[in-house]
């Protein structure tokens, strides 16, 4: 047990950066004065404290995270959509390479074919929010400029949500017989993640909250 506690304390010291090394020493020193039965929980607590301390600069409670973390978020939220959109649209046999004859020959005769091709076209158009999001996100990472336009933000958030809902409803009436609206990983990656990231970019455009936040008359 003492070995585990010792590992916890070492881990806490490692987590706390150089500027908090005194606190790491304080925790370690105090550990020597804690009762035997409480030592392990004390050591675990020190790890929790260190994690909180490491997290604090990134999370000030208002989602104003570091730009490096934001870079990861942007790549994670817009990267898959951008890649999927570009392959789906431009790669062989991407949508852009479909001729009207192809559509008439391969899609329209199918049950729900008109719905499928309509959703493909709509997806190709709406999917452009992927590269737009990537651009806006990287602009924030590099220049610190968030998504200031509320109208643009609302459009970027609302459009994929609207397309999803319309697609689900239209699919029930005009889609293939086996069509069932479902929230799957595709919806999560191509709709939820980009929407969340756009919302975050809009949030970052708000002026930072003053240090004193609760109003008391």
């Amino acid at each position: 047990m003492s070995a585990l506690a010792s590992i916890c304390l070492q881990f806490a010291s490692w987590l706390l950066r150089k500027e908090h090394s005194e606190w790491a020493r304080a925790m370690h020193s105090e550990f020597q004065h804690v009762g035997e039965s409480e030592r392990l929980s004390w050591a675990f607590g020190c790890v929790v404290a260190a994690i909180k301390q490491r997290w604090a600069p990134m999370n000030t409670g208002d989602f104003r995270i570091s730009r490096w973390v934001m870079l990861v978020e942007i790549l994670g939220c817009f990267g898959p959509l951008t890649l999927g959109w570009s392959l789906f649209t431009f790669d062989q046999p991407g949508l852009i390479h479909h001729s009207l004859a192809d559509v008439e020959r391969w899609y329209l005769p199918l049950p729900g074919g008109a719905f499928i091709i309509s959703m493909m076209i709509a997806g190709a158009v709406v999917g452009v929010i992927g590269p737009i999001g990537l651009f806006l996100g990287l602009r924030y990472v590099v220049f610190g400029r968030a998504l200031e336009s509320k109208a643009l933000g609302a459009a970027l958030i609302g459009t994929p949500i609207l397309l999803t809902i319309v697609g689900w409803i239209a699919g029930m009436f005009f889609g293939p017989p086996d069509f069932r609206p479902q929230f799957d990983s595709i919806t999560f990656v191509f709709v939820c993640l980009p929407v969340a990231a756009f919302a975050h970019l809009m949030y970052l455009a708000r002026p930072a909250a003053p240090p004193q936040i609760l109003a008391v008359a």
């Binding site: 606190w23 004065h33 929790v48 404290a49 909180k52 604090a56």
Partner: protein
Amino acid sequence: MQRIRRSSGQTLNLLRALMDEPRKWHHGYELSKATDLLSGTLYPILMRLSDRGFLEHKWLPSQEAGRPPRHVYRLTAKGAKHAVEQFEISDEVGAGPKRSLSRA
């Protein structure tokens, strides 16, 4: 209208423990016992109070032979003033110090 941040119940508990004997130096384990705060909650609050200039700390030799020196804490004058303000706010809004909030 004055705008001021209200401390969490946990921070209030800690401030009360420190204000019970404001000139005395308190060590972490003692504060943990007095406030029922575990080390994972206690130290982040201590660090935050220290960063904001509300808390001073130093090392004191242990009174027990063979034990390492202890890191001890007490409120600064600014910290004591802040504590009093927080107690007043707590009384005004009716949130007792025992009430646990999510953030300090």
